[in-house]
């Protein structure tokens, strides 16, 4: 249940993989497209099971807890399966569209009462264009409000495959100045600004009018109602 990712009460799907690496990223675990292992110290009981089971010898246990050698870790998740206290978590789980759909509509009653719905966030959801497209299509067919959170760095197919099934695009423009953008996020914003213009045009085409809803901070967030 989320009250922060768009209108009403929402369930947010965090997709793995992001083309940017912003300095301020809230969800750094979602940048890499690969599953990643994380260790949560408060949950660890120091049993050492993980060290024993890791096939790549990527883990070690000391007084300060479990250390992960990222160079050795293959993200296989075996340690997290064996960790008795869920202190090791493999972030990034493979979902099929149908199964994820079933999970997401559980809060339907709350979406309906609040004009809420599903938000696909990330990472960058548009990277998994086909999957997100199919998911949103299925949700929309059920009358559920859909939103996509994007950094703006996506390719053309996203318009037809994703945006055509979205009620709302949360367009998170990080920085207007390309140089600064590169400094903060690791990549320039030419494509992003270009996409934004095309996004507006796409909406114009769709509705014959342009609706823009700013969140107050132009440089961080444009909200565009499709």
């Amino acid at each position: 249940m989320s009250t922060e990712d768009g209108p009403g009460i929402r369930t947010t799907v965090f997709m793995k993989g992001c083309p940017l690496s912003c300095r301020w990223c809230h969800n750094p675990e979602s940048i890499s497209p690969l599953p990643e292992i994380h260790w949560l110290g408060v949950r660890c009981i120091g049993c050492g099971t993980c060290v024993k089971v890791c096939p790549h010898k990527a883990l070690s246990l000391s007084g300060s807890g479990v250390k992960i050698d990222r160079n050795l870790c293959a993200g296989c998740g075996i340690c997290s399966e064996h960790c008795p206290s869920t202190a090791l978590e493999l972030l990034g789980k493979k979902w099929g569209v149908d199964k994820l759909f079933e999970e997401l509509i559980k809060d339907r009653a709350y979406f309906e009462k609040s004009s809420g719905g599903i938000t696909v966030s990330g990472g960058e959801g548009t990277l998994q264009t086909k999957f997100v497209g199919r998911l949103l299509k299925k949700l929309k067919a059920e009358g559920i409000h859909t939103a996509v959170d994007t950094c703006g760095l996506f390719n053309d197919s996203v318009f037809d495959e994703i945006f055509s099934h979205a009620d709302l695009v949360l367009y998170d423009l990080k920085e207007i100045d390309s140089k600064l953008h590169k400094e903060f996020t690791g990549s320039g914003n030419e494509r992003i600004l270009d996409n934004l213009t095309r996004c507006c045009e796409y909406i114009k085409e769709l509705h014959g009018k342009r609706i823009l809803k700013g969140s107050g901070n132009l440089f961080r967030l444009f909200r565009m109602v499709l």
Partner: protein, 838 residues
Amino acid sequence: MSGSSALKQEFKIREPEGLTPRIKWLRDYYFKGASRNWSNETTSWSTGTPWDAQYNELTFYIVPETYALMQTIYSSYRLSARTVDLHKDFWTWTLPERRAWFNREVMVKYLPKEILPGDLIAGGRFNIMTSHCLTEKEAKARHKLVHGRSGSRAMMKKFHDHGYGNSGATSGHLIPGHERALKLGWKGIHKELTERYNNLSDKEKKSEKGGQLRGMIIASKMPRDLAAAYADLCRTMAGREQEKSRKEELIQMGDILSRVPWEAPVTFHEAVQSLWLNHMLVMSDENYPGPGVSFGRMDQYLFPYWEYSIRKGMDREFGKEILRCFWMHANTAYDSMIRTGNQGITAGFGQLITLAGCGADGEDLSNDLTYAILEVIDEMSPILEPKPNVRLHRKTPDELLDKVVDMISGSQGAPFLLNFDERSIAGMILEGRRAGITDLINEKNAWEYAPVGCLENTMVGNDRSGTVDNNLNLLKAVELALTGGKDMNQFIDPITGKADKIKQDGPSTGDPRRFKTFEEFWRAYEIQTKYLVKKITDLYEQFESIRAEFHPTPYLSCLVKGCAEKGVDVTRGGAEISMATIEAVTYATTVDSILAVKYLVYDKKLCTMDELITALKDNWVNHNILQAMAKNKAPKYGRDDNEADDMALRVMKLWTDETWKYKTRSTGRQFRPGMLSWNYWAGDGYIMAASPDGRARGQFLSNAICPSNGADINGPTSNSNSVGKALGGKSDKSPDSFEGYLNLLPNGASHTITFNPSIMKSAEHREKFKAFLRGYIENGGTALQINILDPEMLRDAQKHPEDYRHLLVRITGYNAYFTGIGRELQDEVIARLSHSRM
């Protein structure tokens, strides 16, 4: 000291603002507590016989905290009792007549009468402990039944010591027929009783029925006589009063009291005055202040009087002032323990009022009085009684929801209890069918239901459902299934140090180490559950039959439909709807434990049954890996995980089906299921053995229908969805469904969610919170208690209790002062809070 004042600024503890001088004085005076000159402290009264006694411990068997004090309390009431001069024929009367006469005598002639400055309602002292009124022979017989070797006290203690739960024949916990008493006045009730009696044959007059009706006739004159005494007092006080407006008020009060509650009230002031006396005398009659003696839909049955008086020119604010005085009176119930302070959670009495809710066609019934009452509560908060429970349903108007959300957001954890009509009504209809009383509860009238005490749904004015009388630890069946029917740990009496031998208490279900499949384990659990339910019904029978024989409540019986008709006291099953509720405790701990056995031993084979049992016997010490897996890896109820919630439903169906199989033998009361855990989940956590869900002995059990502490990691919507599913979910096809809702617990189930204040931080968030409540109507349970509390503030309150004297928190339907509850319970409240997110 200095540290505390700095922190005080950070957390503002709410204090009422803008009270009228009258109410401010009354409220401040009330909170002076033990240093007041006036109080409603309990007084004790005797027939003067050497065998006389007052305290009826059967009522308190459900309060384990009192076990150790039972004999002391019993003796102190005996020793402090004052003797009442008896009528010359007293000992020739039947017991109901003796009790009715004795109580009336004490209330009208012996107990002092006072009216506090500015008070608009009369009826001050009502906490009394009165003589059992037994003859020597009766007293001896009772003594043997209570104190004998296999007497009620010994059996009750054994049941509790061994972790089964508790049971007792408790008073209160019903909604008297207030509406009828207002419509008829006591004059009308008295007339009806007299006619009934006169129509009896001579033989019947000499029978128990005759004695019962005579007792009720005596009781029915008590409100008249008491009101007359207060009317005299008002006039005397008016004569002495210098201040003109107060003088007029007193004259008017005198006039009112000389009419009501004998005559039917006409004005709002008369109606509220009647209601107060009628209500307060129930507590006197039962010798117990306010245990769930509830008001029902007060905003509905008082509305005609409200409307009338407003039409006749009553200032709306004056109407509210009358209500505020009424509120102050309800709080004086606590004076019974004025010298001992707030005794933890037991400080909550639960004189519950019901507000709003749907009507016959699903329409919303909230009215101006609903709002006036909510305003009064809001203005006077924080204050404990009476507690409101607001009924919500699909057609609840936004305006009401706005007011409710407003009050919740400013409540600092105080009075917010919501009841959900569709799910609740589905349960009442199920009850009608399963108890075979569809003439009394059906689709046409179930909307008239109201909650009692905290959230226990019953019908109104004709229903006693003993909603707190039986509290059963379902988890005991898991323990017995793991041991083949024996206690896992030996019971050692903490006071005497004496150890009980471990015996084959439950059915022998075999050595679980030999169970090849989970289903074999389930079958053992099933057999043990059946044993538990039968055991508690047998135990209750012992208490119920003693109460039926020795403790009639003739005054209360006048207010419960069925008693006069049958000529049977309410304690003997006189109510039209006469039920006894079993409240299952430890539900989530039980479900999670079964899920853990399945997951650890059978599905994932992470340990053998032998290893699991050894770990439990060792209280998980040196089994921390297995314990961590049980806690973290095994599925849990409360996450909207269908597999886990299916198990929850399976557990629910099993124990509720068993419950419907039993009736009390002495009084014919049908058992029905519910889930309210009061504070037992805390205390019994020290008694019950370690459980397969990873809980060690000494840790708390789960509360009512709530997921285990910390298990609801998917947030409040998932938590609520699980609760709805555990109650039966939704289905249009089932014959038991109402508007698509199913509910296996007619009594309802207590569900608490604690939110951080940030959930209300902006207007937009409040809208979302409203939507959450509307979603809860669809998916959730029967009753929801919302705590809005900041964990940091509570930690500060632990450090500086003196700054937080009035801080209320809600614990299973009970509002209690945070600083007055035990440290462990405080920690539990904080723990719940700290992990909750939205």
